[in-house]
């Protein structure tokens, strides 16, 4: 008999939650660096502030629920949520807005539903959607990318940024703010896409957004390589969004933005690799993940193009989170020994 001989030990290093979470946090580093490079210190300060809050809220909740404190705190999940929130928020949001977002993510969206592994929605996206709806003014105050501006990066130093975030929004800071490229695309009046590209300073600086997306993409590839998640979800999101936007761009290039723009601007890459792949709130099987991703991609294009909000990644992911149990019901894989998969309504009968 020819058996494959591999010497013992056959046990690999066990993968635990904390390890995965640490790796995902690590994988956001390129994105964080790009954000800091182009948009200043704000994101970094927000990450630290949000992480402090997240750990505090998590500790209070776990204590109140009579669970082992250290066991749950050391899994880094609260910090990962905080990091994702801080990366998604505009760099110079006031401190209380971050606090509201982290409170909603940790206390409402995670712990009230039963803690890690029990949340039907991605906590970071629940928080983002809530603050986006509640504080539209603060949430749309992005800055123009410093790096690509005349004065360069030393417009706003570290201390200035701290004052801006914790001391309140001063009048002179309004000089830095600008809309995001998606905002400009959405609210361009009667201009055609090409005219919008020519007329807007924001779109002239779109390179910063491409770079940030590229950085997130690198982090995502690292996670794929490390097998933290499978390729199905991100690929489905990107391909469906690309296909959808190509279709409409081909039909009418004046009315719709090009597919490259959709894929590389806004939260698409961050959402596709870091948030849609959340194992708790996404679909389970590989086939299910593909449907889940397609849903997200189509919804992103739909809401961006015809909805009221310029970016749609958070809403799309939340809507598909809601649909995930339904997708799971119909995409159960065939188990070994069975002729047909045990999925759908007939499986339950």
């Amino acid at each position: 008999m020819a058996l494959i001989r591999i010497t013992s030990p056959h046990v690999h290093k066990p993968v635990n939650t904390a390890g995965i979470m640490r790796l995902v946090i690590l994988a956001t580093l390129p994105g964080l660096l790009a954000m800091t490079f182009f948009f200043g210190w704000g994101t970094l300060i927000n990450i630290i502030w949000a992480s402090l809050l997240a750990v505090t809220f998590e500790a209070i909740c776990i204590k109140a629920r009579n669970r082992p404190l250290y066991f749950y705190l050391k899994d880094y999940s609260a910090i990962l949520t905080a990091v994702l929130i801080a990366l998604a928020l505009p760099p110079f949001v006031p401190w209380w807005l971050t606090a509201v977002a982290v409170f909603v993510a940790i206390v409402v969206a995670k712990q009230l539903y039963g803690g890690i592994g029990q949340n039907p929605f991605n906590p970071a996206m629940v928080a983002y959607a809530l603050v986006l709806i509640s504080f539209p003014l603060e949430m749309t105050r992005w800055t123009a990318p410093f790096m690509l501006q005349g004065d360069g990066w030393n417009i706003l130093g570290f201390v200035d940024t701290l004052q801006l975030i914790f001391g309140g929004w001063s009048e002179h800071a309004d000089a830095f703010t600008s809309a995001t490229p998606l905002d400009v695309m959405r609210h361009r009046g009667g201009l055609t896409t090409e005219e919008a590209w020519r007329a807007s300073d924001v779109l002239a600086n779109v390179g910063a957004w491409h770079a940030v997306s590229a950085a997130y993409f690198m982090g995502g590839i690292l996670l794929l390589y490390k097998k933290i998640f499978s390729w199905h979800t991100p690929a489905a999101v990107l391909i469906s969004l690309g296909a959808m936007s190509t279709l409409f761009y081909v039909i009418s290039p004046d009315t719709y933005a090009d597919p490259f723009f959709h894929l590389t601007v806004g939260g698409t890459i961050l959402g596709a690799f870091f948030i849609a792949t959340d194992p708790v709130s996404s679909a389970t099987s590989n086939k299910g993940k593909i449907w889940f991703g397609i849903g997200i991609g189509v919804l992103i294009f739909t809401i961006r193009t015809w909805g009221n909000y310029p970016d749609a990644v958070a809403f799309s992911i939340l809507l598909m989170n809601l649909a995930a149990p339904f997708i799971d019901q119909y995409t159960q894989p065939r188990t070994y020994g069975h002729k047909a998969p045990n999925s759908g309504l007939k499986g339950k009968a």
Binding site: V100, V108, L130, I133, S134, F135, P136
Partner: protein, 238 residues
């Protein structure tokens, strides 16, 4: 047949509260509770309709054939709602405009229909009137609580615009909780109402559990019961 008035009262206010336990009338509950004044107005209007319709339906309960009872109830309720609507147009016109469609929609409020069918059509007049009033007050209490919660969170005030309901003497009832409040739009929008109602239901469940625990602590603890000691049973084995 003796009527337990105390139980009817407790049922309406707490154990069988229309908003927190039966989860009836959610549409107006979620839609208009963005401020205390709206909540109180809708609560009073619903309570008046509920009491009136319970009274009338209970009076006519022996004359209404079962087959057509629902249309009859709806007509009775609709006439009361029309009265309230005209009254509000006459007395509190601004408030009538704010509440808009939700005043005529009281006709379809499930609390009223539910109490008419489940209680008033089977019980004597005195019990039905009490039931209607207590259910109405229980409903109003939840409305006001939710309205206060959402107003405080959403706009940082309490009892704003109360003069719309209570006239000029209420002009300065407004309590500003936080000066220069940014506003928390989520609390004002319908999702905030869902979350707020969920929290109120959770609070009621906590209180109920505490009460139950206290009662069972008072009662002597049951020693090991005789009979089956199997763990996995469905139901009582004697």
């Amino acid at each position: 047949m003796s009527i337990d008035y105390k139980e009817i009262t407790l049922n309406g206010l707490w154990h069988n509260n229309p908003a927190l336990v039966q989860l009836l009338g959610l549409c107006p509950l979620l839609a208009v509770t963005a401020s205390v004044v709206n909540s109180i107005s809708l609560g009073i209007a619903s309570t008046l309709v509920l009491t009136g319709s319970n009274l009338t339906i209970s009076m006519f309960r022996r004359f209404v054939p079962d087959a057509v009872r629902l249309p009859v109830f709806v007509m009775i309720i609709a006439s009361f709602v029309t009265c309230i609507e005209l009254l509000m147009q006459a007395v509190t016109y601004e408030l009538y405009q704010i509440l808009g469609i939700f005043i005529p929609l009281i006709v379809t409020n499930c609390v009223i229909m539910g109490r008419a069918d489940a209680f008033a059509s089977k019980n004597p007049v005195s019990a039905s009137v009490l039931d209607g009033a207590m259910m109405g007050i229980g409903f109003t209490a939840v409305l006001v609580l939710l309205g206060g919660l959402r107003e405080a969170l959403g706009s940082g005030t309490l009892f704003a615009d109360m003069h719309l309901l209570f006239g000029p003497m209420a002009e300065n009832w407004t309590i500003v909780l936080v000066d220069d409040y940014k506003g928390f739009l989520f609390a004002i929008l319908p999702p905030g109402a869902f979350v707020g109602l969920g929290l109120l239901i959770a609070l009621k469940n906590i209180i109920d559990k505490r009460l139950k625990d206290r009662q069972s602590a008072k009662a002597p603890a049951h020693s090991q019961e005789a009979g089956s000691k199997r763990v996995r049973v469905t139901g009582q084995i004697s």
